[in-house]
């Protein structure tokens, strides 16, 4: 089976400005890939090309084996834009019904109810969108993107307007979708969120992929920290294999050891390093 999203040598120029300079990226089946990068890195352009909203200058982008932007590709994906707006005069149910018709979904009322329950909006089914908070609209946007059971879900900053509880709801939802076999490309600035839910992380800078891998692969060892009665002490050069020896030496020296932990770099450290420092 073809990858949910396969991008190779993707280039996009807006006049003299190069937004993407040859990006290669793949989102496999049931895989949740996080897209990171500073403003202007080309994340939104990449997402828009995948959804057929923007035409690439060169390179190839395919959704489930079909050229991005083609009818087949659009039938296979669901999309929530970073900046989105739904007609305020519509109710949540009417919006989902409209998208069901456009997506050719035969799910009917059952699908609409299920999707609204999935994003905890079942009580707001008949409420006009203009009477909803931004967070509710964002959750409705996710439900809208899921109409027609897409194989690939493309989410551009889906939690930017959500409170911590709402974010947790979305995280749980993403895990549930993964269980159901949906692949997700998640573009977010929230590193902690990406670290928690994503199988793989891709960092873009100036239209190019600068780092990619699983969170575990990206996390590098930063030494060992041991807490004794004299306080915490860090051994920057030490690794996991050195821990028993270090603890034994401390005990031999008469110290009481309360804890020992292996230090690794966080995704934030990796990100800051990849994009070139704190100022990025």
């Amino acid at each position: 089976m073809s990858a949910a999203l396969a991008v190779s040598g993707l280039v996009k120029r807006y006049g003299a400005v190069e937004a993407l300079g040859g990006v290669d990226l793949e989102v496999g089946d049931c895989e949740l890939v996080g897209l990171l990068g500073p403003n202007g890195a080309g994340k939104s352009t990449l997402v828009k090309i995948a959804c057929g909203l923007v035409r690439p200058t060169a390179g190839r982008a395919e959704v489930c084996g079909a050229r991005a932007g083609s009818r087949e590709a659009r039938a296979a994906l669901g999309y929530l834009a970073e900046l989105f707006r739904f007609p305020g005069w519509m109710t949540a149910d009417e919006l989902l019904e409209l998208h069901q018709r456009l997506a050719g979904s035969r799910g009917g009322e059952r699908e609409r109810v299920e999707l609204l329950e999935l994003v905890s909006l079942h009580d707001a089914r008949r409420r006009p969108i203009e009477a909803m908070s931004k967070g509710m609209q964002q959750r409705l946007g996710i439900a809208q993107a899921l109409v027609g059971s897409p194989r690939l879900l493309v989410l551009d900053e889906p939690t930017s307007a959500l409170d911590p509880v709402g974010r947790r709801t979305v995280r749980t939802l993403l895990e549930e979708l993964q269980r159901r076999g949906v692949s997700v490309l998640l573009n977010s600035h929230l590193l902690s969120e990406i670290e928690l839910v994503c199988d793989r992380v891709v960092i873009l800078l100036d239209g190019r992929v600068v780092t990619a891998g699983t969170p575990a692969e990206l996390a590098r060892p930063r030494g060992v920290e041991i807490e004794t009665d004299a306080g915490k002490r860090t051994y920057p050069e030490a690794g996991r294999d050195d821990m028993p020896r270090l603890v034994a030496e401390l005990v031999r020296d008469g110290k009481s050891v309360y804890g020992a932990s292996l230090l690794t770099s966080t995704l934030e450290d990796v990100y800051v390093e990849a994009v070139g420092g704190e100022g990025s």
Partner: protein, 283 residues
């Protein structure tokens, strides 16, 4: 086809829910009430007027008043068409309303055709209702009826459809405000072309008349309006007929079958350019 009707229905529901119809109905009733009042006074006094020899005062008053009502009908229809379509592509894209629809497997051309049909489904009945309402008021007050009853109304409706198509085309390239201004200026240019034709007839200047005709055919909603004006008095002759052919806001000019074919071809052409432009547009 399902997608076309879904999007067209979406446009209609938007117009209903946003109370566009309520505002339009209110303004239309006000327009018809004022028109009825004007027609009542005009026909009441027409019996006391001593017109120049060869002029039938009742026919002149009826045709002139109804000609003005036709211009009002065209103008209101054009306003409605522009407001329903001016932000269809770039305006809705800038407001982030378009992207969720475009990523669905419906095709961009389908979206444009559906929005055109939605605007047409509102504007065409509106223009026809207004046209026939003005005609009935004129007939009841002045016992004057146009020589052709249905054709002029259909030509006005076709003119409004052409404006809707031009507005959709403009929406592909221009922001909502710029597009609205551009289409209203185009409508004004049509008005000027008609007035130039009037002046050309009075001065007996074939050059000016020819220039006005070219301008009217370049924006055929004006030529259709002129043909509709001609149709309401096509059997009126003599000095009355000559004066009426000068017409209010653009003289009456025969377009015939060639104009109708050109109007259809023009619609198709505008539609093709709009579809091609939208297909290449990054959103």
């Amino acid at each position: 086809m399902t997608a076309i009707w879904t999007i067209a229905g979406y446009g209609l529901r938007e117009a209903l829910r946003r109370k566009v119809f309520v505002v339009v109905c209110f303004l239309t009733i006000a327009f018809l009430a004022l028109y009825w009042l004007g027609a009542r006074y005009a026909f009441h006094h027409v019996a006391n007027v001593a017109p120049p020899e060869g002029v039938d005062a009742r026919t002149f008053a009826g045709a002139f008043l109804f000609g003005m009502a036709m211009f009002g009908t065209l103008f209101l229809g054009v306003v409605l068409a522009i407001f329903l379509t001016l932000g269809t592509v770039r305006g809705d894209a800038e407001r982030a309303l378009l992207q969720p629809l475009v990523v669905r497997p419906i095709g961009r051309s389908t979206l444009l055709i559906a929005r055109f049909l939605g605007a047409g489904a509102v504007c065409v009945p509106y223009v026809l209702i207004l046209y026939f309402a003005a005609m009935v008021l004129t007939g009841l007050e002045g016992s004057w009826w146009p020589d052709r009853i249905v054709t002029p109304g259909l030509e006005l409706a076709a003119g409004v459809l052409i404006v809707a198509a031009l507005s959709l085309l403009g929406s592909v390239f221009l922001s909502s405000i710029a597009n609205g201004i551009a289409i209203f200026m185009l409508f004004g240019a049509g008005l000027v072309a008609g007035l130039l034709g009037n002046i050309g007839h009075v001065l007996n200047s074939p050059g000016l008349v020819h220039a006005a005709k070219i301008a009217a055919w370049a924006i055929p909603f004006e030529a259709l309006y002129q043909d509709a004006l001609r149709a309401i008095t096509e059997k009126t002759s003599g000095l009355t007929g000559f004066l009426l052919r000068l017409g209010p806001f653009g003289g009456a000019e025969q377009g015939g079958v060639a104009l109708r074919l050109w109007a259809v071809a023009y619609l198709v052409l505008v539609g093709l350019v709009a579809v091609a432009g939208f297909a290449r547009r990054d959103l």
